[in-house]
Every structure is written in C-alpha cells, then in structure tokens.
Symmetry: C2
Subunit: 357 residues, 2 copies
C-alpha cells in the first residue's frame, strides 16, 4: 500500500485517459471520478480498474470518443444511448440530465442503454446528493451470479444506489457540509474482487459468500471462485431483486438485459442503467428545506437515532451508509490517497505503455 497525493493521482489518470483517446474536458472529468473513487476508499473500482478500461478501449469494445445521446422522451422520463462510450462519463451525464428533469417536473428519470461499465456505482449517488437531490440508480451487469435454485450464473450482481441529501447541522462537525446518506450495494454478498482479496490475504469471509464445489455454503473465498457460485444477498430475495432491476433497466432503456451480455469480462459492454432523481425544488415546495434550515432534518434525526443504537462491540458504533466514505476521504486528503501496490504497479506500467505508443 502506498499513499499518492490526490492532485497527482488525478493528473496522472487524466494523462492516461487523454492517451487513450478521450477528449480533454471528458478526460478531466473521468480522471476526477476515478481519483475520487480511490480517495473515498473504494479501491476495487478506481485506478485498479484502469488497465481493464484500457483493454476495453484497445480492443474496440469501448469507443473513447462516443458520448451519450438522447433517443426519446416523454415528460419527466427520457431514454438515452451511451453509444458504447466510457461508462462513467455516460452515467455522470445521465444523472445530470435526470436532475435537470427533476428540477422541472419534481422527478426525473433517464434510462440509458448500450453503455459500458460505470466503474464505482456510488459516484452517481454522491453526485446527486451533493447537489441536493435524492436519487436511485442501478446498472445491470454480465451474468456473474446464479439465480436462487440454479447452479450456474444467469443473473448480474446489478449494483443499486440510493442517495439521500443531508447537510451537517452541528457547527462542531462543520455545519453546512454535505454528508449525504449513500447506499451503494451489489446484489452478491461479495464481489469477485472482494473474494480475490480475501483469498490473497488467506482470510475466511466474515459470513458465507457462496457455495463450494459440493454445493455447501462456505466462507472459503477460493472455493467460491472455483465454483463460480456467489451468493445473492438474502438468498432468494437478492436473486429476485437482481432480476427485477435487470428487467426494468432493459425495458425502460430499450437496451440489453443480463442474458444478452457476454459472460466474458473482457467483452462486457452494452449495459442498461436507470437514473432517477428527486428534486429539492419539490421538497422545497413541501416546506422540507425550511425544516432542514431549522435543524429538524429528517435525515439528521434518523442518523442520530441510528447512532444511538447500542453497539454489539463497544467502541464500534453503528454507521449509516456513506459514513465510512467521508472518513476515508478526509484521511486521503490529509495523508494522500491509499493505493494497493499491485494496482499502482499496473497503473505505472499502463502509463509507460501509453507513452511509448
């Protein structure tokens, strides 16, 4: 593990994106989103993903020059295509557009077809909540999880994000600062990235994460990697949730469903996504903002109630979704962004390759 200054990390990622053929303003935004992912401690989905992103571009799966385009619209809902451009840029635009629609209609929805991997799902929740919007968004993925009752992958682990804006009210914690509640969860109990990381550390999973070769639930990450039978959260429940999110994304966007996507991660492109924003203007109309200002925020009270729950392990208070992120962010800005050695070496190798190209 090493620490890299945020500005340096962002700058070097930007050069890589430019070298991959992404236009300047888009490369700057892309680099910001990726560096922020590492800054926020989501190390599986930041700079560690750049080599694969480069492969997707180099193999022609992703067109670095393609930006998203509107296909159709009706009132507060629009259908866009990502034109198989960089998925994080398309997703960012889609959430921006959903917020514009929400400003006008109270609610806004953009369904995005034919995009590519959006990298860190939570990015678009933070984007909305920091702008004062509540948001839901999700993506389908390649088939990487067996449905409940089946032995082989037929569902994606389709990440779901729900974000609620919140401003800190107490002066001690930096009043006025955006500290939203942001849930970012995939439908498998552990991602394959997380399984690989437990296996490499020789650690058992804290709870069963899938099945071994004999069809028994196990905490052995390597056994799950071998069986390729990752467990949906809540068994049949996460299996059902992954399925409806996939169908809804494909139906609203007019795009591909999980069963249409290649099971080969090197060929994973064409995902469908949904971005739903709820506007602060509608909340304002409903006198919600004045409640915010008066310090009686619903979110604040809910966070306080959660923090008041008696922890099982004293000294380890219950946390709300997104709370750990702010801590990682502060530490990254103070001490530099933590990057795993292996990820850093792969990144430096990519820089070198591109500078010789």
């Amino acid at each position: 593990m090493r620490r890299v200054e945020f500005a340096e990390l962002q700058g070097r990622i930007e050069l890589v994106l430019l070298a991959l053929g992404i236009a300047p303003a888009r490369a700057a935004l892309g680099a910001k989103l990726i560096a922020e992912t590492d800054r926020d401690g989501v190390r599986t989905h930041g700079v560690a993903r750049l080599p694969r992103f480069a492969q997707w571009i180099q193999s022609g799966m992703i067109d670095p020059r393609a930006g998203p385009e509107k296909v159709a619209g009706f009132g507060a809902i629009e259908r866009w295509t990502g034109r198989r451009g960089p998925g994080n840029l398309a997703a960012y635009s889609a959430m921006q557009r959903a917020m514009e629609l929400a400003r006008e209609h109270g609610l806004g929805c953009v369904a995005l077809a034919d995009t590519s991997h959006w990298m860190r799902a939570g990015t678009y929740g933070w984007q909305a909540a920091d702008a004062g919007f509540a948001a839901l968004c999700w993506s389908n993925t390649l088939p990487n999880m067996p449905p409940w009752g089946a032995g082989s992958a037929a569902l994606g682990n389709n990440p779901l994000v729900i974000a609620v804006p919140r401003r800190v009210l107490s002066p001690g914690e930096g009043a006025g600062r955006s500290a939203p509640i942001v849930l970012d969860m995939a439908m498998s109990q552990f991602s394959y990235g997380a399984l690989a990381s437990y296996r490499a550390r020789g650690e058992a999973l804290p709870v069963p994460g899938g099945y071994n070769e004999y069809g028994r639930l196990t905490t052995d990450a390597a056994a799950i990697e071998r069986s390729q039978r990752a467990l949906p959260i809540g068994y049949w429940k996460g299996s059902g949730l992954a399925f409806v999110l996939d169908v809804l994304a494909a139906m609203l966007s007019g795009g591909l469903a999980t069963h249409d996507l290649s099971p080969d991660p090197l060929k994973e492109v064409g995902q469908s996504q949904v971005f739903l924003a709820i506007a602060p203007s509608s909340v304002e109309t409903m006198e919600e903002l004045s409640r915010f200002a008066q310090g009686a925020s619903v979110a604040q009270r809910a966070v306080d109630a959660l923090h008041a729950a008696k922890p099982i392990h004293s000294g380890e208070p219950v946390r709300y979704p997104g709370e750990g992120t702010l801590r990682s962010r502060e530490e990254s800005l103070l001490r530099g962004v933590a990057v795993e050695d292996e990820a850093w070496e792969a990144f430096v190798k990519l820089e070198l390759e591109l500078s010789h190209a």
Copy 2:
C-alpha cells in the same frame, strides 16, 4: 387448513369491515384486497391480520372513516396524508394517484405520511403492473430489526415492492393475460410471522434467520423470537437498504421515520410510504409497446432466460418473482382459498363479536 370459496371469503370480510365502521364502497375494496391476499397464497397478511386490524380500530389507533388527502404537490410528485385511516385503502389510492401522475408526466410519485399498516405490500405492485405500469413502492415499519453492528431493534424491516408489467405472449399460456414480475420483500430474512410458523411446525429455518441469546447466527426460529435479533438480508447490506428506504420515505412524505414509531405492534400507526409509477404511455412513446405486441418483450425474454437456467434440483425450475403467486391464485379459484384453521377460527370469533356489538 380449510378451503373457502373466494366470493364467500370476500363477502364475509366485507361485512366485518362494514361492522368496523368503514363506509360501503371502501369496505368492498378493502375486502377485495384482503381476500385477494389469501387467494394469492400470502396467508400471513390476509384474513389472518383482520383481528389485529379490528383491535387498531377499536383502540382508536386507526380511524375507519378517514381517507387520504393531498397535502402538497410539485409536477409529478405529490405529498399525501393517510390521516391514520385504513392503510390498505390509503395505499391503493396513493398508487392510483401515482399512476395518474405517470400518465401525465411519464413518471409519478406519491409520498404518503401518517398512514397505517398497508397489509400485503405486493398488492400495490400487482395493482400497478396489472394496469400496465412499472412501479416501485415501499413502507417503513416499527423498529423490529437491529441495524448491522447493534444488538437491539432500531430499523424497520421496511418492505420493498418492484413490479414490471408483462403480458403472456404464448397462446398456450393464455395470451394477453397479465403475468407481471412482482418482487415483494421485507428487509429481514424472515418476518416474525414466518418465524412463528417455523417454530409452531418444529422446523429449522432453511438458512440462518437471526441470532440466538449467545449472539450466534441460528436457524432456530424460537431462539430468534427470544433474542428479538432478526437478521437483515445480506447482513450489512439489508441493514443499509432498510435505513435509506426509511429516511427517504419520511423525508419525501414529511412523515414519521421508524425511530418515531412505537415498538409496540398494537400501537404501530403513522407509517410513511412512497409510491412510484412509470407510465406505459412513456414506454409507448419509446416504441416499447409495439415490441410487446411483436412478441419480443424484454420481460418475456428475461423470464425465458431465467427459466433456461439449469436448476440445482431437477424438476424444480428457477422461478421469477410473482410466478408462484399466479399458481396459488389459480389453485384458489379452482379449489377454494386456503386459510389456516387458527386464522379462520379467529376470523369467525371476530364476526361473532361484531354481530353482537
């Protein structure tokens, strides 16, 4: 277990609702929704819940005469209050209104404050999908589940419904028939109703459902009832999901959050709920309906792909959310609605009490 003809069941429930002070048209709708719940095989949330519903009315927690009212609105989003009337009637109205808004704006949202228990969550998903709308809705509940990391209840098991309309395309299965995908899931792995039922049958849970008195995960339903530590689906993930759904419902509706609700089920009233509908008109604009008609429905293809997954136990194919419901429904209409003896006896006792009142 006994079988009661659907029309008889509905008629007798209607008389009970009338005797409880609910106006005729509303009693008819309420009876239909409750009888349909048993018809669809969701026996924990149908006629079995009527004695408690009667208690809520008799103790003044629920006002049988109160109907929902609009409080505020902005474009496609409205805030309503349930005025602590019967929760299933208010939820039904809220979803109807969300669909009207969606017809106009493409999307529609009603946030409902100060309502009461909506009984079967899936009801409002079927309502929307049968009318050709996609829908998401959820409710908060009293605190009945510990957040991840805490030893006592501070979260609700907040049921979430996601519904996708689907028409059967093959003539053999009754082409044109509505066979939507309807996910109806609470955030706990098992409800307390389900735990009681496993305990009564002396059966172990199929997967761990919570903690015993010693803080260990267990499949012993009675031990979980004693510890009151039900497990969120996916451990930390379901805990986070329950929390954001609660905050979003309370914030959008301007109503109560879980921590504001009494932990006593006899005093559970004032819930907040969200109803979100997506209109077929917007889908139509996007040429989706013509795809439906051409037999290339996204939902149909996704269902076909799911059914094609190789089952772990041969002869037990993978099912989509809602699939079992249609089977229960058909059987109920053919053979009569199955009602547990205990629930039936309590219902007959309630009928008698009300006829003497």
